[in-house]
């Protein structure tokens, strides 16, 4: 080790707490970068491997019923490599221990061999394969875990009106159900929705579908055009009640994983940049001060023949040492957070194995970015040091010149005490440093706004979705749309006080070149249970003509009320109609479109039909009601509002809790670090001044107040600025999180602001107190000594 390096090491040890503060802020940015980039890598690589090994299809189609012979025609479509046809049907389940009925999506397994596409991954037990297997089901892992189901366990399902008991043969995963939730759901509710696999013959026979299929999966040949294949599939399946084929991008499960990756990509850039900028600024402050203190040493080194390059390198090494510590902490923090977040992903996504994979490239990139930030931070100070002529450096720096602060110049002078004036003038004399300190504190405040705006947004969504929009107790759906008189049957179920019918029909809405598939809901003109609510929020009345769509959908289709959209019905008789958009609805999950029930039925030309009903059930007869529903053959689905709401609250609560902790830690580190460093630098710069004050009779507390007065003013200025910045962060992040599947409103509450202010104020106060403790070390006699 050269002697210059030994000096470096000792200087670093002397400055350890400040260097550590900088390194920690840097580590926050790096940890975030490492976590997010590694999670992207983990998700992408895991997903791609899973898809490849389990042969996830490229094109999917649902239809009413087509004979198996059509499969050959599908296979003959140019560009199609493999075709798999099957049956997929939604049924009501009776799960041991669950009072309410659950919904199960039953998928058929081929009569011979294993599935060629969308192959289930067997976690435990086995798949119920073979022509002769009967009375066995394989269950999706999420549902099994939610109910503690094991292979060998039992479950009952109502198949086409007949209750049947099944034995669980195994627990499986499927690339089709990485996100195991009913279509359109914002979050999985594994208690009430599950996916199952059973032999084709048994399922087909139960629904009189033997020799036919209603579900298609296709892989494309290399170079094939997905669009052309989808068009050909649609043409071929049109007579069979096709609901329109779609590619992977529109696959609900795939899309959710994609959305998550997109959100991570946004986060992986924005926040790390913020933290690294703050760290660069802090490095600059520390190094500038260090170089100012070592003026004479620099002069001596140069006078003794050290080159500019050697002196410059010496100080750069100083900042790189900080970078090394920052990268180390950042990597450790990033890996730790990454593991925590991967755990969180297990709540949402089901992969055979989702491990945290450290993206080593990002570590290198992160180190390079931090080094660059530190380099930028110290370049100016080092350049000044290097260009200092030795003779000049030997002389002490000229005394600082001051002038009255702006506030005093505009007439406030007589109101201020001498120490307040010192603070004001110190701030004004170094506008850039003061501005950046203020900005960094504002950023710390702003960071805190983000997770709580998520929390408040989710609380708003919960209230909005389940108090304002949906006021039913339970929603029952029929196996098949049936005549509207079925509503009378629902009304006769035990405890039902109110029943309102609805009709769901899959459609494709198109405006110009853009189209989306979704469920068009037919509802009563002005229902009291499931209501159509606008952004106000106020209830919209559905007129006899026209359609109300989600405002997100309106954005995507670029339509406004008054414009027309083309609605293509994807079920039963295929029809295409132009309907005017007459209003925009507010909703936060998926995309929806609403029409008045009778108007919809007229459009469908199927007579008065309903898909199910929303019900209000008297709590005292809840048990009877559930029992009756489990026995009702025609009810295919039963969605209990409160259980969905609770599931949603629990799942979001866990993930938001983690985010809150993470951001809280980051904000505290930044606030603490920036104040500590500023106070220490101020202490170092004003040591003589403060010692003089002590000699003149100021108590330690009074001198402490003079020391931190400036920081108090900066903090006070930073807090409101931070709230504005935080609102901006929240808006930006919420905008990036807002996808077609999930959206959050921007909700900013006084509680949120108050919490952010409290945390930053406390962290700053504590940090200032820590730094001010150094005042005890002040050498009073030093004040008496001459400067030279």
């Amino acid at each position: 080790m050269s002697l210059l390096d030994r000096k470096l090491l000792r200087d670093l040890i002397a400055l350890k707490s400040q260097a550590l503060a900088v390194a920690l802020v840097m580590a926050c940015g790096l940890a975030m970068m490492v976590t997010t980039r590694s999670l992207i890598l983990s998700l992408e690589s895991t997903r791609d491997t899973y898809y490849r090994e389990h042969r996830f299809a490229d094109v999917f189609a649902r239809l009413k019923r087509a004979p198996n012979a059509v499969r050959e025609q599908l296979a003959a479509i140019p560009g199609v490599a493999t075709v798999q046809t099957s049956i997929a049907i939604q049924v009501t389940l009776d799960v041991p221990g669950l009072p309410e009925p659950a919904v199960g999506l039953l998928n058929s397994l081929p009569e011979r061999g294993e599935p060629v596409l969308n192959r289930p991954h067997v976690r435990a037990g086995r798949l119920p394969l073979g022509r002769t297997t009967r009375g066995e089901l394989a269950v999706g892992e999420a549902f099994a875990e939610a109910h503690g189901l094991k292979p060998g366990g039992a479950i009952s399902a109502i198949l086409n009106g007949t209750k049947q008991n099944f034995r669980l043969s195994g627990i499986v995963l499927s690339p089709e159900f990485v996100f195991e939730a009913p279509p359109g759901a914002a979050l999985p509710d594994n208690k009430t929705y599950g996916v199952f696999w059973m032999p084709y013959k048994e399922l087909a026979t139960a629904f009189q579908l033997y020799g036919a299929f209603n579900n298609v999966a296709i892989t494309l040949a290399p170079g094939a055009s997905e669009g052309e294949v989808i068009a050909a599939v649609n043409r071929l399946l049109a007579p069979y009640g096709a609901r329109g084929a779609y590619g992977r991008v529109n696959h609900p499960s795939h899309r959710r994983v994609d959305d998550e990756i997109r959100v991570l990509q946004g986060l992986s850039l924005a926040f790390p940049l913020v933290f690294l900028s703050v760290a660069a600024f802090m490095t600059n402050s520390v190094m500038s001060r260090q170089i100012a203190l070592q003026r004479e040493q620099i002069a001596m080194l140069k006078a003794c023949g050290f080159s500019n390059r050697q002196v410059g390198a010496h100080y750069f090494k100083f900042s790189f040492a900080i970078v090394i510590v920052g990268v180390l902490f950042g990597a450790i923090g990033g890996v730790y957070l990454g593991h925590q977040l991967v755990e969180m992903y297990h709540l949402f996504f089901r992969f055979p194995q989702l491990d945290f994979v450290l993206d080593a490239r990002v570590l290198v990139a992160a180190a390079a970015v931090s080094a660059l930030a530190a380099f930028t931070g110290v370049a100016g100070a080092v350049r000044r040091a290097v260009h200092l002529p030795p003779a000049e450096a030997m002389r002490p720096e000229a005394p600082a010149s001051f002038r009255p602060a702006l506030l005093e110049r505009i007439g406030g002078a007589r109101w201020f005490s001498a120490s307040f004036r010192m603070a004001l003038r110190n701030i004004e004399r170094r506008p850039i440093r003061s501005g950046l300190t203020c900005l960094a504190l504002a950023l710390a405040t702003g960071i805190l706004i983000v997770p709580n705006s998520f929390r408040d947004g989710i609380a708003y969504v919960i209230d909005f979705q389940w108090d304002i929009v949906q006021r039913q107790t339970v929603t029952l759906t029929l196996v098949e749309p049936g005549p509207s008189r079925a509503i009378a049957d629902f009304r006769h179920l035990p405890g039902v006080e109110l029943a309102e019918p609805f009709r769901f029909v899959p459609v494709e809405l198109r405006a110009g070149p853009i189209s989306r598939r979704l469920t068009l809901q037919g509802l009563p003109e002005r229902g009291t249970l499931s209501r159509v609510i606008d952004a106000e929020p106020r209830q919209l009345t559905l007129p006899a003509r026209g359609i109300v769509i989600s405002s997100k959908l309106a954005d995507i289709l670029h339509v406004r009320p008054g414009d027309e959209v083309i609605a293509k019905v994807l079920e039963g008789r295929e029809r295409e109609l132009a309907v005017p958009v007459i209003g925009l609805a507010e909703d936060f999950a998926g995309m929806a479109a609403y029409m008045e029930l009778h108007a919809l039925n007229r459009l469908l030309l199927e007579g008065d039909r309903i898909s199910g009903a929303h019900l209000v059930v008297n709590a005292s007869r809840w048990g009877d009601f559930l029992h009756a529903v489990k026995q009702t053959p025609r009810a295919a689905g039963c969605v209990i509002k409160n259980s969905i709401r609770d599931g949603f609250r629990k799942t979001t609560g866990q993930s938001i809790g983690l985010l809150q902790k993470m951001y809280l830690l980051f904000a505290i580190i930044v606030a603490f670090g920036i104040i500590y460093n500023s106070a220490r630098i101020s202490l170092s710069e004003r040591m003589r001044e403060l010692a003089t004050l002590r000699v003149l009779g100021f108590s330690r507390g009074e001198v402490g107040a003079v020391l931190v007065g400036e920081l108090v003013l900066l903090t006070v200025a930073a807090l409101p600025l931070g709230l504005v910045i935080g609102a901006g962060f929240a808006q930006g992040i919420i905008a990036s999180v807002n996808t077609e599947t999930v959206r959050l409103p921007l909700v900013l509450t006084a509680d949120n602001y108050a919490f952010a202010i409290l945390v930053v104020a406390c962290a700053s106060a504590l940090s200032a107190w820590f730094a001010a403790r150094k005042l005890a070390d002040i050498n009073l006699v030093s004040a008496l000594k001459a400067l030279d």
Binding site: A400, S401, M422, R425, T692, L696, G697, S699, L780, V781
Partner: protein, 253 residues
């Protein structure tokens, strides 16, 4: 501050000469830094009494112990042995906050390097101190006393060395201290400027009856004192009383 501390106020003291109760009563004062073989003895037992209205000069070369003595008198450091009484109050056993209170109320310091707060104007530098002590004079009056009335709204960087030192004197006297402790007050000044500064100290001592203690290595200053003590190797090696105090202008510059 400790509640027991009640400082006698200078204005309650009798006029110079009549008062034979010393302001400082010092006996066998010693200060040793460090311990064992590394121990360095800076003061080896000094005895004296300083009285109100006196101007005392402490002479000595670098390392003679004069700064250590000044630190003891100013409440910046505590003795290792001996008695150090300020108006009968034992400073040697006073705690940190008591010493702070002592400095705040009783002592005016003048430093070699002025030690003004660069971010405050001349007037504000004085006001900074008058804000924290009882019964101060108006900062403007203190600055008038040192002849800086017209420049009181200038910042330190806009003042000459002599002017800065006079601001420091105004700051020291604005609290109406019992004691003015000056550490090489002209050390950083040229002769002409030094004279104006010493005149200011002399006037304060004469007009307000403040005990002024000046430490210096410049023997010429001895002629302006009532009494002169010469220190060497931590001891008082010579003490003399001038029959007549010379005026600053008469000193053999």
């Amino acid at each position: 501050m400790s509640a027991a501390v009640h400082l006698p106020h200078p204005s309650s003291a009798p006029p110079a000469g009549a008062d034979r109760e010393p302001i400082f009563h010092v006996r066998g004062l010693a200060r040793v830094y460090g311990a064992g073989t590394a121990a360095v003895t800076a003061l080896r037992g000094v005895d004296f009494d300083f009285f109100r209205g006196e101007l005392v000069v402490l002479l000595g070369a670098s390392g003679s112990g004069k700064s250590t003595l000044l630190n003891q008198l100013g409440g910046l450091d505590s003795p290792t042995h001996g008695t150090l009484l300020y108006r009968g109050w034992n400073l040697g056993t006073t705690d940190e906050s008591g010493l702070t209170q002592f400095r705040r109320d009783a002592v005016g310091f003048v430093f070699q390097a002025y030690n003004l707060i660069p971010s405050l104007t001349a007037r504000e530098n004085v006001a900074l101190i008058t804000e924290i002590c009882r019964d101060p004079m108006a900062p403007e009056d203190a600055l008038e006393l040192v002849g800086l009335g017209p420049r009181m709204d200038h910042f330190p960087a806009q003042l000459s060395g002599g002017e800065q030192q006079r601001v420091a004197i105004a700051r020291a006297i604005a609290k109406r201290p019992d004691v003015l402790l000056c550490d090489e007050p002209t050390g950083a000044l040229d002769v002409h400027t030094g004279i104006t500064v010493l005149e200011a100290i002399e006037r304060i001592n004469r007009d307000l009856g403040t005990l002024a203690v000046i430490i210096t290595h410049n023997a010429i200053l001895a002629d302006m004192a009532d009494r002169v003590f010469t220190l060497s190797d931590g001891r008082i090696v010579n003490a003399r009383t001038n029959a007549r105090r010379g005026s600053v202008r008469e000193l053999a510059w």
